[in-house]
Structures are given as C-alpha cells and as structure tokens.
C-alpha cells in the first residue's frame, strides 16, 4: 500500500519535472515580454516531431544524435516567432500579442498536421520493462526526464545568479525600458530568453515523446499544465514555475488514489480557478523568489 502511494509520488515528480521545464520557459517569456505565449506549446510539439524527422529516413540518426539538429531547429523556430511576429508587435497592447500567439499556435500545429498527419507517431523505441526499486517502477525515458530537468534547471540557476547575462535578464524582466536605458543589450536578452524557452520546450517534447508517443495536440495539452504551474508560482517567477510544475505533477498523480483517473486533468484546471480567485499573484506572490 505504501509502495502504491510512493509510486504515485514518484510519477508525480516525473510528470512535474517536465511541466516545470515547460512552465519555466513560458514564465520567462512572460517575465520579459509581458504576454502569455500560446505558441509555446507548439515548440514542444515541433521539438518532438523534428526529433522524429531526424530519426527517420533519409537521416536515420540515433535519437541522441537526432536531438541536436532537432533542438537547433526548434530554437530557430522560437527565434523566428519573435523576429517575425512578436517583435513588430512589441509596442502594441498585450491583447494583440496574445491573439497573435494564439494564431501562431494554430498555424504551427496545423503545419505539423500537414507534414506528418494528425495520427500519432512514435520513435519506435523497443518496449522494455522498467527498472524496479522495491516495487516502484521507473522507465529509462523517465530517468532521462528527471535528469534533464535537474541539469537544465541547474544550468539556468547558475546562469541567473552567476553571470552578467543572467543578471541582465532579471533586470529586463523587472523593467525592460529601464534596463534598456541602463545600457543592457536588449537584443542579447531577447535572444537568450527565446533560446532558453525553445530548448526547454524542445527537450521536454522529445522526452515526452520518448516516454509515450507524439501527436499534434501534445504541446497544447502540456501547455495547459504549464499555465497552471505558471499561475501557481506567480507569472514571471521562474522558481515559482518550477515549484508549481512539481506541485501540479504530484497533485494530479496522487489524486488518482481518490478520484477516477479519467478526471485527473481536472486537478490542474481546478487549481487555475482557485488561484485566480484567491491568489492571483501566485502562492509566492510577485515579490518573493528569484526573478
């Protein structure tokens, strides 16, 4: 019985670490540019599908090699999103940016359908038994997921706290105009934000697809969890998003011990409502945490 609950918690941590990776990217973009990027989900999907493209003929690379060009193109897509769509709209009101990102999300999702079809796809990794630790099962892709999340978020932490670039990023997210006036190179900040967000999304997408499979809607459904995590941590708060992601992963996985698993997604939506009603600035508030 204890093993059962422990397993649920472990699953929650695994799911949560992926939500956290998505949420961190989403909240960084929000922090600096002050809009919710709906097409963030499509970067997740594109990461996975590009991985598929490079593992299939004519490339036929092993997955760990395929991940490199796949992520590079995902980053290029992220930068292109900003350069062609969001940059020209930067001075307009946030609603225009929001609508533009919704439009872009549809465009990118349907482009996937156009190239790869609506049907789900897999990397065709062999089906294997997971590793068992005293009755608690973890699969190899899941280990990768947690490891990737830990590595990436550690790098992010070091970047934010130990480098000038990280500090300028935080400054820009505090007040973009003021940071600009103070001589912080905004192009560098912009590029960094999009590169980080795209790498996190693309990597997460590939890992999710490794663990299960991919379909054009995968980004959209993960994005909803990421939204909930962002709100939980307070929009713009990177560490809040991390904690939020983990919290949602654990909450929804443990919930299945009490409610029918068919309604698991209900947890993240319920959290969104409760937070918006009672604590719109997130559990940590906007002041707390490292920004």
């Amino acid at each position: 019985m204890t093993a059962y609950y422990l397993q649920l918690i472990v699953n929650g941590i695994i799911a949560g670490s992926i939500y956290a990776m998505f949420a961190v990217g989403l909240t960084m973009v929000y922090g600096v540019f002050k809009f919710i990027n709906f097409s963030h989900g499509e970067l997740i999907t594109w990461g996975a599908y590009l991985g598929l493209m490079f593992t299939s003929p004519p490339f036929s690379l092993p997955l760990y090699q395929a991940a490199v060009p796949a992520l590079a193109i995902t980053v290029a897509l992220g930068l292109a999103q900003d350069w062609f769509i969001y940059r020209p709209l930067r001075q307009s009101n946030p609603v225009s940016l929001l609508i533009a990102s919704i439009g872009l999300s549809y465009l990118m999702r349907n482009a996937i359908r156009l190239f790869w079809g609506s049907d789900f796809q897999t990397f065709n990794l062999p089906v294997a038994r997971g590793l068992s630790f005293g009755g608690i099962y973890i699969t190899i892709p899941q280990l990768f997921m947690v490891t990737a999340a830990v590595v990436f978020l550690t790098i992010l932490y070091l970047l934010f706290t130990r480098t000038l670039l990280g500090k300028s990023l935080r400054a820009a997210s505090d007040n973009m105009e003021l940071a600009d006036i103070m001589g912080i190179n905004m192009t560098r900040v912009t590029v960094t934000v999009w590169v980080l967000a795209s790498v996190f999304a693309g990597t997460g997408g590939i890992l999710l697809a490794m663990d299960t499979n991919m379909d054009p809607m995968m980004g959209m459904s993960s994005l909803i969890k990421a939204f909930a995590a962002v709100l939980l941590g307070g929009a713009g708060n990177v560490w809040g998003a991390l904690v939020g992601g983990l919290f949602i992963g654990i909450a929804e996985n443990v919930s299945v011990a009490f409610i029918s698993p068919g309604y698991k997604d209900f947890i993240s939506f319920a959290l969104i409502f409760i937070l918006l009603l009672f604590r719109p600035t997130g559990i940590f508030g906007i002041k707390g945490g490292v920004r």
Binding site: M1, Y4, Q7, L8, N11, A15, F120, T122, P126, V127, A128, R129, G130, S132, Y137, T139, L208, D211, T212, N213, M214, D215, M217, M218, S221, E252, N253, V256, A257, S260, P261, G262, Y263, K264, D265
Partner: protein, 368 residues
C-alpha cells in the same frame, strides 16, 4: 462552379424525369464521395449499385426500376445535413441510406426522424444510434453488443473477477455499462472500474491503480492509441494480466505501437460466416461487375442494406414511409444477408455474432 451547377441541373433533370415517367422508385443515399472517407465511399457506392442492379435485373420493385440518388456529404456532419435536407425536401424521398462514421450519422438521424424519412445505416456502430427513433435502422451491429461480447468472452475464459477500464466518452461509458450489467448478471465481479481519458500519453496512474488490486484479468474497452499506450506502459511497469478488449483496438497499428506488450491479449470483433451461399454469390457477382477489385470494407453491409430496403419497398407496394417502415420490420425477420441474420429488433438494430482475436508473434490472428 460551372461544373457543379451543370451536374446539379443534370441531377434535377434526372429527378424531373423520374417523377414524370412512372416506373422508377428512387431512394436516397448520403455517401462520402469526397473528403477523408472518400476512399471508402466509392466502395459503398459500388456495393449499393451492385445490389440495385441485381434487384432491377430480377424485375425491380414490382416492375418499377429501383434508382439510388447519391448525395455527397464531403465526409462531414455539415455535408451530411445539407445532403439529407436536399434528399428530403427537394427530392422528396422517403428512404435514405445514411452516411458512414457514427458522428455523421448521428448528425442527421434527428432530421430523418422529424421528417418521417426512413434512414438506414450500414457502417455506424455508435450505441446512441439506437435512440435515434422509429424511422432509423441499421444493418451494422451496435457497439452495445460488444459489451455483451466481451462479457461472454471473459466468462468463457473463466475469469470471475476483473478490473474494468474504459475510455471516458459516450462510446466507452455506454459499452462499459452493458458489460457491467451482463458480467455481473452472469456471476462475475468487478473489483474496480475506472475511466481513462481519451488521447492522453500517460496512463501510469491508471495502471498503478489497476495493479493495486492484483487482478488476473483486465477488461479494457478502448481505442487503438489509448490501448497501445496503456498496454505499453503496463508492460513497462510490470503489470502482467490477461487483457480483454473489444474490436475498436483490433488493428495492426496497435501491435506496431505497443510491440511485445500486445502479445497474448484477447478481444472480440463482429463477424459473419465466411462461407454462407449468399456471401459467395455476392463475391461472385462483385468479381463479375468489378473484375480484379477487392470487395470493399463494409461492402457486404451496404449490399444487404439495399437488398432489404428493396424487399420492404416491394412488400409495402408504395414508397410511403410508414408503410415501408412496417414492411422493413416484417421482411427483415429471419432475413439472411451476406452478413448474417438481419432481423431488426424494435429499435431498428440487428444482432451480431462475435469472433475472437488475439496477438500472436506480433500478428493479429483468430483466437481459438
């Protein structure tokens, strides 16, 4: 546009002609001739035309020629609605053959019911179609019967206690209800039942909950994608049970996706005798009319549908919907088509026989 108008005028002319020159009885068909189901639609149409040709060669409907008016629905619900509206209001037809895909069929069945037009389906399995009304029939077995089929399979294999999981939509919930009723009535016990959401990529929580009960067998009423994900993740997490499934997951794609995790699962699927004389005759006639072409998917059902409708029209002696409806009930009793017994019950549904499938050495085969 010119071509469309041209063909519309052409079709109108055909109607005018059929109305003016007596000796033709027309029935409508909403068929996916364009759109994503067009690959199947052509086969449906050919099977229906083959049946009509045979009927007319054998003297037609009491001397009148049977004619099927095809309306394309572009494989969509919207297209189906416009198509049936046209067939009912402009062509004034009292019998219409419905479209493939249960969602398209369900979109138009209220229209048929309201306008007192007989609607017959040959490919629609959704349980809800049973509730469409008295003017709606189908020669394809309802999914609900699968619930019974799986229950019989479970009992036959000697499993007294199972965990039940099903996809959380109308189809899955409906099937599960029927399974539960039948299984518990035959002395079975459901240890736990849980719905799983459609289209997810992670079902591990569901699997762990199943595992907690340590069951010998799990009844999983689901589709291909969900089925593959569940089987794969169950294997990864060391859940070794006998999986029992329906026909919606019966596809080579399931094996492609879940690999060795599918080995040994057992399921049911609707089938019909492959060596009945009627079916042999159909196959011979098909080969003669469309040499070298394989008989299409659901072709037999479409063929039976037209044959039954013709019998009813003959029996009724007119195209009056209420008369045909009563005749349809009457002539169907004991009628053996290419797909077996097509006796309509009071809801306009037919029975079914079920085959059993399993996965052996990576291929789907019959379970014996």
């Amino acid at each position: 546009m010119g071509r469309i108008t041209g063909s519309a005028i052409g079709i109108l002319f055909v109607f005018w002609a059929s109305a003016v020159f007596a000796g033709t009885i027309s029935v409508g068909a909403v068929t996916p001739l364009t759109g994503k189901l067009a690959v199947y639609g052509e086969g449906f149409q050919q099977a229906m035309l083959l049946a009509a040709e045979e009927i007319n060669a054998a003297g037609g409907i009491n001397g009148d020629t049977l004619e099927i008016v095809f309306e394309d629905n572009n494989s969509t619900s919207k297209g189906s609605v416009s198509a049936i509206r046209k067939l009912i209001t402009i062509d004034k037809l009292s019998v219409v053959f419905g479209p493939a895909a249960s969602s398209n069929f369900l979109a138009i069945c209220p229209i048929a019911q309201k306008n007192k037009t007989i609607l017959i389906g040959a490919e629609s399995a959704a349980a809800d179609i049973t509730k469409c009304g008295s003017y709606v029939f189908r020669v394809f077995p309802s999914d609900l019967l699968q619930g019974i089929g799986v229950s019989e399979l479970t009992t036959a294999l000697g499993y007294k206690e199972v965990v039940l999981t099903y996809v959380n939509n109308d189809w899955g919930v409906g099937l599960a209800e029927v399974f539960k009723e039948k299984f518990t009535a035959s002395g079975g016990k459901i240890i736990d039942e849980l719905a799983h959401a459609e289209g997810k990529t992670d079902y591990r929580s569901e699997i762990f909950r199943i595992k907690r009960h340590n069951p010998k067998a799990v009844v999983n009423l689901t589709y291909i994608k969900e089925g593959a994900t569940i089987l794969k993740q169950a294997y990864e997490t060391g859940l070794d049970v006998q999986w029992l499934m329906g026909s919606a997951a019966k596809s080579p794609k399931l094996v492609t996706l879940a690999g060795k995790a599918t080995e040994g699962i057992i399921g049911t699927y609707p089938t019909f005798s492959q060596d009945s004389p009627v079916l042999q005759a159909f196959k011979a006639a098909w080969e003669k009319k469309y040499p070298g072409k394989k008989t299409p998917i659901f072709g037999e059902y479409n063929y039976d549908m037209v044959k039954l409708a013709a019998l009813a029209l003959k029996d009724a002696g007119s195209a009056d919907a209420d008369g045909v409806k009563a005749s349809l009930m009457k002539v169907s009793q004991g009628y053996m088509g290419t797909t077996g017994d097509k006796s309509f019950d009071e809801k306009g549904d037919v029975g079914a026989t079920y085959g059993r499938w399993t996965v052996k050495d990576g291929a789907i085969t019959d379970y014996r």
